[in-house]
Symmetry: C2
Subunit: 339 residues, 2 copies
DNA sequence: ATAGTCAGTCGAAGCGCTTCGACAGCTTTT
DNA sequence: AAAAGCTGTCGAAGCGCTTCGACTGACTAT
């Protein structure tokens, strides 16, 4: 294992000079710099992470807390995680992967031990246990998702309220008068994960404004659960011609069931999904959808943290404006039908 | 930030004693231990990770290299990552998330800097660039996946050869005489990711042994690509009554297309999938499948690494035996059909 | 009774790096 | 020509922990 001291000796300078070449915190003459860089290359030197962390009290690591459960939004999580990791690398940071399992203890451990310089939390609940801890430390953090109370916190998320509104608008504009919402699993709502409620809120208030009917039904993923849910919806509101789906694992079952019942998409019914782009494109009908900007959120989170660690940056809540992409699953409401 | 020294003072012992209480590397009297543990709790002490790493040259971190691309097996990756993270925690390790982006450089960086004590590599190619580096270091590592040459390496993977064989057997036993294989995207084969080829190998050799016809077609995910692929298959072998699918994003499209063409599953055609359990269960037809044991692989990888780090454990290749679960997508081949 | 053993504790020497103050040799200002 | 300011470099003091050797006192074997 090559050390700084060995590089210094090889280059004929002092250890501190090598350190300054590496960090750029003091000016170094061009010739010295080159000599040192040459030695570093020749010896294959890599600074020791532990020593560096100890001396500088900076680990150059960002902790990322992902939810433990894999029942929801897995591709989104993965995409965010990868975006976080790659963005972090471009800023010289590595990413520590924490699962929600440890809960608040993980926050304590990481802050207390100096393992990471900053944290990104995913799957934030409305009244998350980890929040008081974050507020009580000076370690920067970004939440992906929105809790109930955001003072003193930095958050990024898709504007789910606007997303809901946008979906209803789109369907209403096409003439649909009765809309059903296939939501996440009941557990998601019980857990008070903000996004589901915010979407619903946006859906409802715009539906009311536009005077269209809205029926919301949570739904476990999978074909069987979807079959039951759909049957209930059509029983209760036979005239339903527009669907909004916010549940990846309900998308294909819904399409399959509609097809099976002889309801053509988009001729008879229209479907709008809130899902990652990939899901929308790869579905058996190319779905009109509002994409979940996973990459963008991951990138933003890291960049904000880096800014904070550099002494720039402030607490703020950023809601990303939703964009609805029209594909093949929505069309004008069937005419001559009494809703 | 509380330090060891402060704890020592608070407990009225020397710093080294506190250290030994923490590590258990020397015997400590019960009374002293209790006093120290009390002080640790009262002061809310957390050992500083950097200092610890520097002094012990152990970071207690395991690096996990995940593939950058999200075009394949995302849920499997995620499940593995989470299994790795949680298992690592139970052994006192944290997980550093590296993306494939940096390639071999990441390996150099991590080994060189002592950032991690060990590595887990996913998405291993047959002739992976990172392998020479792993062989050239004394840092333990486990590959999830199988390269062409495994000497000096530790690997875990599903036994894909046996998996292929098992799928063919199951279909043959049900009387299917012409089987089509929907494979991964062509890019996966070109990249020489071992698992795809090994599966194919298993499929082919067992098909030959059992005297059934086998047609293999790679397939991009999605509905459109699947439509083209299916049309070609049925054109070439109209009597095909059994399908083996090894491509998550082709599963639903295949089912949708079969349905649309009036081919009932499992009455007219049978489908066996190689996919995570969740996908098989949530599909619009509950799929007979060979599960990909993501959790098991992740757990094994970590446990093997921990064993190695403790001076136990050896290099070896572990192939997990496939298990085929019969669900609703396979049944006897339709009678009276000339294949 | 004396040597040997052992459990329990301490002190001190690092681990490899960052960073602060100091200083030598310049150039610029007055 | 002296004072002031740069620039580029060095030495040394830690950062908070682990770990080795040494020591003390009590206990066992002879």
């Amino acid at each position: 294992m090559v050390t700084l001291a060995e590089v210094a000796q090889h280059a004929g300078v002092s250890a501190s000079t090598v350190s300054y070449v590496l960090s750029g915190k003091r000016s170094i003459s061009a010739t010295t710099r080159q000599r040192v860089e040459q030695s570093i290359r020749e010896l294959g030197y890599h600074p020791n992470a532990g020593a560096r962390a100890l001396a500088s009290s900076r680990s150059n690591i960002i902790a990322l807390m992902v939810p433990l459960r894999t029942d929801m939004y897995v591709p989104v999580m993965m995409e965010i995680a990868i975006a976080v990791a790659t963005t972090a690398r471009t800023h010289g940071y590595d990413v520590l992967l924490l699962t929600g399992e440890e809960g608040p203890d993980a926050v304590r451990r990481v802050t207390g031990s100096g393992l990471a310089d900053a944290m990104i939390l995913m799957d934030v609940e409305l009244d998350d246990e980890r929040l008081p801890l974050l507020r009580g430390t000076d370690q920067p953090s970004v939440l992906i998702g929105l809790p109930a109370e955001t003072t003193g916190l930095t958050c990024v998320d898709l504007d789910f309220r606007a997303t809901g509104a946008l979906c209803v608008e789109h369907l209403a504009m096409l003439g649909h008068r009765d809309i059903a919402v296939i939501g996440e699993a009941p557990a998601v709502y019980e857990r008070h994960t903000g996004f589901a409620e915010r979407t619903l809120d946006g859906l409802r208030s715009r539906a009311q404004e536009l005077g269209v009917g809205l029926l919301h039904r949570p739904c476990e993923g999978g074909y069987d659960a979807m079959a039951v849910t759909l049957a209930r919806i059509l029983d209760e509101r036979p005239g339903t011609s527009g669907f909004v789906v916010q549940n990846e694992s309900a998308v294909e079952p819904l399409l399959a069931l509609l097809r099976q019942q002889g309801r053509a998409v988009p001729e008879d019914v229209s479907v709008v999904a809130v899902c990652p782009e990939q899901v929308a494109v790869q579905a058996s009908v190319r779905l009109t959808s509002v994409a979940i900007p996973a990459q963008e959120m991951g990138r933003y989170a890291v960049e904000h943290l880096v800014a904070k660690l550099d002494g720039r940056g402030t607490d703020e809540v950023v809601l990303i404006a939703p964009e609805l992409t029209v594909r093949a699953s929505t069309g004008p409401a069937p005419a001559g039908r009494i809703s």
